[in-house]
Symmetry: C2
Subunit: 147 residues, 2 copies
DNA sequence: GTAATTGCAAACCGTTTGCAAACCG
DNA sequence: CGGTTTGCAAACGGTTTGCAATTAC
């Protein structure tokens, strides 16, 4: 069981890339937060510790995805949101269309369904993304007050 | 059972909006194609019949989504892809990460799962989006040839 | 008649890229 | 030392918006 930094180091080495302090800081920052972040939020969070350009963030993110450390979660009004996934059980998202609140849930059934659907069409599956949309309890209250 | 144009007309009327020839053409074009289109593809398709500005397309699409005629399918290298959904059974997508091929499939289990997951968190659900990712048969062959 | 809609062109904004200096191995 | 990485600023491309003319109702 290796840490995210070891995963990064190994990935870089295997691809003839370099382990730089910038890349280390980015991974540290990403694994210190537990939210669905945008590149800009990451930039602002990092800025307090070490100045890193947005360009480097944009260049690093594809590497981290390739290395299996993070993944795209969804699009939020034009911006992509990411989460760290390495070391975490796969999960899906339940999102309130009104306020944007996100709840994570785990449904083992989906793994079987993924494999079955893929097989039925001759595909080899490599993952799935399920988003359930709805209205959260507190937004339900708010809208019932308005009526 | 009403047609897509009637749905459009009703939606517009109920919201104090106008039924224009442009909006009619857009809906006709969308329901004449059976693919996952981008705004630009729609623009090029329409252009042959009636010139409509991209601005009008961008302004009309949110209305059609609100009216329940179309929905976003997924992001494809920066562009949003849509499909017409009115009159069609809800389905999900199996996508090849290599060539982008998309297969649609229907899994009734997901409707139950959607309702159950939502209920468990006090949500009222309004839909779900599941994307299964993998490698299609023909891309599997290609990659086995390379090795 | 009057408010909604259209097309145009400019603005917007997240993301990508060319380049020269800095730096990892 | 050589090739990679960085930061900067400019470019890019999809989408949004202000405005004046047009049009649905």
């Amino acid at each position: 069981m290796s840490s995210e930094l070891e995963v990064l180091r190994d990935y870089l080495q295997q691809h003839g890339l370099r382990f730089t302090p910038e890349r280390e800081s980015i991974v540290r920052e990403i694994f210190s937060r537990h939210d669905h972040f945008t590149v800009d939020e990451l930039y602002l969070g990092l800025r307090q510790k070490r100045a890193i350009s947005r360009a480097s963030l944009y260049r690093t993110i594809p590497l981290l995805i390739e290395a299996g450390l993070i993944s795209e979660v969804f699009q939020d009004s034009g911006q992509t949101r990411y989460e760290h996934t390495y070391g975490h059980e796969h999960h899906c998202h339940l999102r309130c269309q009104n306020c944007g609140e996100v709840v994570e849930f785990h449904e083992p059934v989906l793994d079987d369904l993924e494999a079955r659907v893929a097989a039925e069409h001759g595909y080899i599956s490599s993952g799935h993304r399920l988003e359930v949309l709805g209205t959260c309890p507190s937004c339900q209250k708010k809208s019932s007050l308005r009526n």
